[in-house]
């Protein structure tokens, strides 16, 4: 068993699916399940790919993949979510199964690869898959803008990678980390890191590189909303976390600039969500704010709780976008006034949506509370009082607009609206809401993510 199968099997399935369109959706189901099961059997460590006589020449001439606990959690989340979202949309979006297979391959590659140029290739694969997924919105201009901004982002990333290669003569991330630490001159890497950070920031929805989000998510449906706001956002947050904690070195003025930008991102996202009346916009601006919080946590070294925050966010955003986008489709508008009284006839959906939203806000008994409490404690431990204040202010704004939204959705308006959620939707909502509840009450979660990178470094040093 080899971690490369996580990427290659979806690719193979995608190539086969082009020959026969009929089997494509079922291939996706099989491959998704296969990946999730396979993850149980894979061992942590480095996997080499390509080359000649790797056993004899097991150095770094080729490409390698790195599977550690961090990547494993991300992979479970991503593959599982893609599978669930596809199952819910099985009837209406069968045509997307080849694209979703490629998206799966691309995202798995992003999370696994240990080679900077290989990362760029997977960035393009998953990016193009994302543009095609958003084309389901039938808004070609927003998708085109997304494509252009994404292309600029990935080009800047490649520029940074190439500059790093010119300086340190390698593309292998682990060797690169060692070379940078050995040289000790962090001023030299500011330029490539800035370029790469911008490139990743585009996909991770960080201010000010997130101009595409409104066009893409503001018109999303039950496929694109959860895919972009749930799956892609989570994957890019994980990737950004990997880069921030393992490769990037933020010091001195660069650290201040990054922190200020991220803090602005949190506040701007929440303020824009506060001032919007469209439900989808409220959700997307809130997810911009959340993405910035995650990045801020990684920058400050609060890794484990950032990971839990990513997972909780991905699950919550999936539920919220599914509920709202289904309602928007049936009602024909996403103004919060038009959706007034949505939950009157859908008490169960309303209950789960409320639970999920309360978790995002960070109320006790729910996962969001545990996570927020813990990362705030850790931030306090390293003396980041200003950041705590900013996050608390943002939470208050967030609380106001979410409570306002929930109240509107519960209290009937003048005209009654009927939106039907079928059983599969309801089942997913219940499972996710329960998961957040259980985590929030009975949690003794992992407090240590065993990052195999140190042991891997020893392997590299000795090999």
């Amino acid at each position: 068993m080899n971690a490369v199968l996580l990427i290659v099997i979806p690719l193979l399935a995608a190539f086969i699916s082009i020959v026969s369109k009929k089997i494509a959706p079922y291939l996706l189901l099989v491959v998704g399940l296969f990946n999730i099961v396979l993850l149980f059997f894979l061992e942590n460590g480095l996997v080499f790919i390509g080359g000649f006589d790797v056993a004899m020449n097991s150095d770094l001439l080729g490409i390698s993949l790195l599977l550690d606990t961090y990547a494993r959690m991300a992979l479970w989340l991503i593959n599982g979510l893609i599978l669930v979202i596809f199952c819910l949309n099985f009837k209406s979006y069968k045509a997307f199964s080849s694209i979703l297979l490629l998206a799966m391959a691309g995202l798995n590659g992003l999370l696994l690869t240990n080679d900077l140029f290989n990362f760029f290739v997977f960035l393009e694969i998953s990016g193009i898959a994302a543009y095609l997924i958003t084309s389901a919105n039938k808004k070609p201009v927003s998708t085109f803008r997304y494509l252009v901004i994404g292309a600029i982002g990935s080009s800047l990333f490649l520029f940074g990678v190439v500059v790093l290669y010119a300086m340190y003569g390698t593309l292998n991330m682990i060797v690169m980390i060692q070379a940078i630490q050995a040289s000790g001159n962090y001023a030299e890497v500011i330029l490539p890191f800035t370029l790469m950070f911008i490139g990743l920031g585009v996909e991770a929805k960080l201010l000010p590189f997130n101009a595409w989000v409104k066009g893409v998510l503001g018109h999303s449906n039950t496929l694109t909303g959860p895919m972009i706001a749930g799956v892609y956002a989570a994957a890019m947050s994980f990737v950004l976390g990997r880069f921030i904690t393992n490769l990037f070195v933020f010091e001195g003025s660069l650290l201040i600039v990054v922190t200020v930008l991220l803090a602005l991102g949190i506040l701007a996202g929440d303020v824009m969500a506060f001032s919007s009346t469209k439900t989808r916009e409220i959700l997307l601006f809130s997810s911009i704010a959340q993405a910035s919080i995650v990045a801020l946590l990684f920058v400050n070294g609060v890794i484990i709780w950032a990971v839990y925050l990513i997972i909780a966010n991905a699950l919550s955003k999936t539920v919220m976008f599914l509920v709202i986008n289904k309602a928007t489709k049936d009602v024909g508008s996403d103004e919060s006034e038009a959706l007034r009284g949505l939950f009157v006839n859908n008490k169960l959906v309303g209950l789960t949506f409320t639970l999920v939203t309360l978790s995002v806000m960070g109320l006790p008994l729910l996962a969001g509370f545990v996570i927020k409490l813990n990362f705030l404690t850790q931030l306090a431990g390293i003396g980041q009082i200003v950041l705590i204040a900013i996050i608390l202010v943002a939470s208050v704004i967030e609380g106001i607009y979410f409570v306002r939204l929930i109240v509107k959705l519960w209290y009937p308006g003048e005209s009654e609206i009927s939106v039907k959620y079928n059983y599969s939707f309801k089942a997913v909502f219940i499972v996710i809401a329960l998961a957040l509840l259980v985590f929030g009450t009975y949690s003794t979660p992992l407090t240590k993510l065993d990052n195999t990178i140190d042991t891997v470094m020893e392997v590299v040093n000795n090999g």
Partner: protein, 112 residues
């Protein structure tokens, strides 16, 4: 010299993406940016003073000085990826034209 030119070319491409409101022009700018980036990548692997291309006829040639082959391999990949993006962008451009009957982003109804 060529290295500076390639960086400026890259930046010109970004400038074009910033200022132009025409879908086709934006795709042209995207391509200019990519060409600049490709030349830059090749330029970081160039070795002056009579180095030769990394193609040999037999192993006896290995005593010679070569340019760096790795950036060339990367650019081969990058060029093909660029074509993929361009084809897709042009397909979107055609769809945009079908929907709005114009390539000018300013003249369209759909808000960003």
């Amino acid at each position: 010299m060529i290295q500076y030119a390639s960086i400026i070319l890259f930046v010109i491409g970004i400038y074009g993406l910033f200022v132009s409101k025409n879908v086709i022009k934006m795709i042209v700018s995207l391509n200019i940016m990519e060409i600049g980036l490709n030349i830059f990548i090749i330029s970081i692997g160039f070795v002056g003073g009579g180095a030769i291309a990394p193609i040999i006829s037999s192993t006896q040639d290995l005593g010679l000085i070569f340019v760096d082959p790795l950036p060339q391999a990367l650019v081969l990949t990058a060029i093909v990826i660029g074509v993929g993006t361009t084809a897709l962008a042009l397909a979107f451009a055609k769809t945009i034209y079908k929907t709005y009957n114009t390539f000018e982003l300013d003249e369209m109804e759909e808000s960003a």
